[in-house]
């Protein structure tokens, strides 16, 4: 990413160091990666937390660093480095090398930053590291944490978390643990991490017939040890808020006559946006073009303790054209007919022992439901973040839509409670048209337009 000179200078005073586990992990400890982990290797979860000056006042950054050391004692596998076994399958050697810790300063206030025109496309990339794994696998940190201090006294914490280690839910869980570790610094109670270590993975004996391949996984050209996919067209990022009242409007639009129906919020938003995108993109002839991938949290597994890729990845294909389908029908389809593709994905990855390279986000238009991610659970000094921004780096050409809560629960409508923040990664050339379509639906306008 090449930034303009002025933009680059906004964030300065960069100091790099490493944070690792406070306890020695031991020699020859290895973390094996499951098929699902390896399928995600070209993606990176990025989360940026913004804290007001009130929260950051008197915050001792040394204590924060100490807390991450404490936290990494349990998440020691995220501090290791990637190696390849003889067959080429990647695994993590838990050598306590650590995460990269970046300290920076910014001469603007947080509000000024957020109001900048190209904040979501460019500036936010300065607040969280864009470093990817590779070209040297053994010396690339999979986790990078950046703490930036702003002129107003507020600060931002930017977490770059390689998707191979876990999904956004895992990343958010890790940060929440850091916040908790900081609160209890001084007491020696170790957090109990229910570490799920995956050992041998058996290869599927029968190759799948071709028509049973997962729709959500797409092969890409081999990237070797430099784990980032290059898009065929430039991708742009933009975000907007949907307030609770706007959601209510949407709800009534979709449910139509049956107002008493419980229409799920995430699927409603997806349906509307899907229709807008379908209008903007040309070509709905192939079934692939009418397929979307949905990522949601798996409600079965406990949210505390499990540390790998467990989100439900499902795909939905429409028989008819999207533009001709009404929103309510879309919502029903998204809720009822999404097929869980995780088993198929694992089998495909295991077929050649994890050597091939795939992408999931952006293989089809991907909708990611982060409402249950507890992103606002990361507290500093007892304060919740004012804003949390979460996205994935390394999204393919079909684009992705991320739906997050707009503010901490119970913080009141003014602070986003009950609303949603939507981030869309889409080919740059089609973004203006998409914004226009969304505006027609009443989305992306008004005070909360943060493009």
């Amino acid at each position: 990413m090449v930034f303009t000179k002025e933009l680059e200078d906004l964030v300065y005073g960069i100091k790099l160091s490493s944070v690792g586990p406070g306890r020695v992990t031991g020699s020859d400890v290895v973390h094996d990666l499951s098929g699902m982990d390896i399928a995600m290797k070209l993606h990176y979860v990025k989360v940026v937390y913004f804290f007001s000056s009130q929260a950051a006042q008197g915050l001792n950054l040394t204590r924060f660093k100490e807390a991450t050391f404490d936290c990494f004692c349990d998440f020691y596998y995220t501090c290791g480095r990637l190696r390849r076994s003889e067959s080429g399958r990647p695994y993590i050697k838990c050598n306590d090398c650590g995460a990269r810790y970046i300290e920076a300063c910014c001469d603007m206030t947080i509000d000024e930053c957020l109001q900048m025109k190209d904040f979501y496309s460019d500036l936010q990339k300065l607040l969280v590291s864009q470093q990817v794994i590779g070209p040297e696998l053994t010396f690339s940190p999979p986790v990078l944490i950046q703490v930036t201090r702003f002129k107003c006294g507020g600060l931002s914490v930017g977490l770059s978390w390689a998707h191979i280690l876990g999904d956004a839910f895992t990343a958010a869980n890790f940060m929440n643990r850091c916040g908790q570790a900081m609160a209890r610094l001084g007491s020696n109670t170790p957090a109990n991490l229910q570490y799920k270590s995956n050992t041998q993975h058996e290869r599927s004996k029968n190759p799948l017939p071709l028509h049973d391949e997962p729709l959500s996984l797409k092969w890409v050209d081999p990237v070797g040890d430099h784990w980032i996919v290059s898009n065929n067209c430039r991708m742009d990022t933009f975000s907007f808020h949907i307030t609770a009242s706007q959601l209510a409007t949407l709800h009534s639009e979709i449910s139509g006559r049956n107002r008493s129906d419980q229409v799920p919020i995430f699927e409603s938003i997806c349906a509307i946006i899907w229709k807008c995108i379908a209008k903007v993109k040309l070509g709905e002839e192939t079934a692939q073009a009418r397929t979307v991938t949905i990522c949601k949290k798996d409600p079965r597994k406990p949210s505390k303790g499990v540390v790998t890729n467990t989100q439900i990845i499902s795909a939905v294909t429409l028989d008819l054209s999207v533009m001709e389908t009404d929103p309510q029908r879309l919502v029903t389809l998204l809720v009822n007919e999404a097929v869980d593709e995780r088993m198929k994905m694992e089998e495909v990855v295991e077929r050649d022992d994890g050597v091939s390279d795939f992408i999931m986000y952006g293989a089809n238009l991907t909708f990611v439901d982060l409402e249950e991610a507890d992103l606002y659970g990361f507290e500093l000094n007892g304060y919740k973040p004012d804003l949390v921004y979460c996205t994935v780096h390394g999204v393919g050409d079909e684009g992705a839509v991320f739906v997050l809560p707009a503010g901490p629960k119970g913080s009141g409508q003014a602070n986003g409670d009950g609303g949603r923040m939507v981030t869309i990664i889409f080919p740059e050339s089609l973004v203006p048209e998409l914004k226009a379509e969304l505006a027609k639906k009443g989305l992306g306008q008004g005070d909360h337009d943060l493009t």
């Binding site: 100091k15 790099l16 490493s18 690792g20 406070g22 020695v24 050391f69 306590d96 010396f139 940190p141």
Partner: protein, 496 residues
């Protein structure tokens, strides 16, 4: 493979011969005195009580003679007790335990090295090879300023490290001994490479509000053996000042001395030196006799600086690019061996039992007069000491000393494990090693400990301590949380 029968029986016989010889020579006085006393007793019994009384009366003592004799006896006794050097007690000591946030695993060190020296892959390769064979573990610590890429060794950071290390150790010492800051009469701080103004001893006086008539000293530039030099200085001062407490702080501040260039001979210390410090309380007060842990028996200092090669073998200088670093010459081990021999020659007669000294003397005479080709007899120091604390300067130093002094693996275990857990902490490493032996519960009353340290110059200093009371395994201290994992097996080459 079992030894063949004749060899085995002959070696057993040799062992008994040796034991017999040692017992004979070491207890020669007792063995000669007993027959004489027996003879006298038999004679007395034979003579009978009347004859003894007659003998007594015939001696013709008068009052003046008796008074003169008793006066002489009292005079001699007084002179003896007055001129006896005061006993120096080591009441207790505390070692600094670095926080876990300062931990430097191998992988982190190498990754940082690659990023800092990205234009010099050969230097990085060299550092990796050193680290693999160094004998260090994954828990050694560097100060916070060195964790940055690139390191930020400002003076403020160096002072920060000094405060962290020294104040931690001092607080620990105060807690352990119940010492009040106002009771410190003598303060000696030794830190070789960081010498700010005001001195580190002034920093300690300022922090703890010590008395204005305190005798404070700051030793800098004296290398890794400065700890024992401080002990020697404290001992001399405590001879002059009765009823006094002396606190010694031994440390090495790494922040300002991290070599930033890429000259190989100078990169070596970066790989080995780690954060550490110790605070020791010495006293000559008789009230400390009961609770003191050790008694100082001897301090022997040897300086080979007169020899040019010895003087230059550890040298601080600038490299071609102007970076200051400590250059270690290739003949370091040979010079260390020479210095050790010199030191042993002086300390041998002071500590070795008579049997060993006799053998050494005989072999020496034999080599000089009869046949120079006779192998020099290396006295068995294991008979003089129960515990050895060899400065953990590096794996090579410990190996060399183990070979020269013919020590077993258990004798050098304290040194090796300290090198593994804490790295080379310079002058304080001897105290971590003592702490290791105590933590393992091996220190018994009457045990003798030999501390040997090498330092730039080239110096070899030794101190001999005698354990005053059996020491219970401490519940705190630098080894408290990890002693159960030790001893560990340290492979020749660690796979990184």
């Amino acid at each position: 493979m079992p030894p063949s029968s004749p060899n085995f029986s002959s070696s057993v016989k040799l062992k008994y011969v040796k034991l017999g010889y040692q017992y004979l020579v070491n207890h020669i006085l007792t063995l000669t005195l007993i027959p004489i006393m027996a003879g006298v007793l038999i004679e007395v019994l034979r003579m009978g009580p009347e004859e003894i009384l007659n003998l007594w009366k015939s001696l013709n003592f008068d009052l003046v003679q008796i008074l003169c004799c008793s006066f002489l006896i009292v005079f001699v006794t007084t002179v003896y007790f007055m001129s006896k050097p005061r006993t120096i007690f080591l009441v207790d000591y505390a070692c600094f335990k670095p926080p876990m946030t300062c931990r430097v695993p191998f992988a982190t060190f190498m990754e940082h090295s690659r990023l800092i020296l990205k234009d010099k892959p050969k230097s990085v390769e060299f550092q990796m090879r050193i680290l693999e064979r160094s004998g260090l573990g994954e828990e050694t610590c560097l100060p916070p300023a060195i964790h940055y890429i690139p390191p930020t060794p400002t003076m403020e950071a160096a002072r920060g490290e000094a405060e962290l290390v020294i104040f931690s150790a001092m607080n620990s010492l105060f807690e352990k001994t119940g010492l009040k800051p106002k009771d410190i009469d003598i303060l000696i701080v030794n830190c070789s490479l960081f010498s700010p103004t005001p001195s580190l001893s002034a920093m300690v006086i300022n922090k703890y509000k010590l008395r204005s008539n305190i005798k404070s000293f700051n030793l800098s530039g004296m290398g890794c053996s400065a700890g024992l030099i401080s002990v020697d200085l404290a001992r001399d001062l405590l001879q002059v000042h009765p009823n006094s407490n002396a606190v010694i702080v031994s440390t090495e501040i790494i922040t300002p001395n991290y070599y930033q260039g890429n000259e190989r001979a100078m990169l070596l210390p970066n790989c080995l030196f780690r954060m550490g410090g110790a605070a020791i309380l010495l006293s000559n007060r008789t009230s400390e006799r009961r609770r003191a842990k050790y008694r100082l028996v001897h301090v022997v200092r040897t300086h080979k600086g007169a020899d040019d090669k010895a003087y230059r073998c550890v040298f601080e200088e600038e490299d071609k690019e102007g970076n200051v670093g400590i250059s270690l010459q290739k003949d370091l081990m040979a010079i260390a061996g020479e210095a050790l021999k010199s030191n042993i020659t002086t300390i041998g007669p002071l500590v070795l039992p008579a049997s060993e000294q006799l053998l050494f003397l005989l072999t020496l005479i034999g080599r000089k007069i009869f046949n120079p080709k006779w192998k020099p007899y290396i006295p068995d120091f294991k008979q003089a000491f129960e515990h050895f604390c060899i400065h953990a300067g590096g794996r090579a130093v410990i190996d060399e000393l183990q070979k020269n002094l013919q020590l077993s693996a258990e004798h050098v275990e304290a040194s090796r494990m300290t090198l593994h857990r804490f790295g080379n902490t310079s002058s304080s490493s001897l105290w971590y090693e003592m702490s290791y032996i105590e933590s393992k519960g091996r220190m018994r009353r009457g045990d003798r400990v030999w501390q040997i340290a090498f330092g730039s110059g080239f110096k070899c200093n030794s101190a001999v301590w005698k354990c005053n009371r059996t020491i219970k395994t401490p519940s705190d201290g630098p080894w408290a949380d990890c002693i159960d994992r030790y001893p560990v097996y340290i492979p020749e080459v660690v796979k990184l």
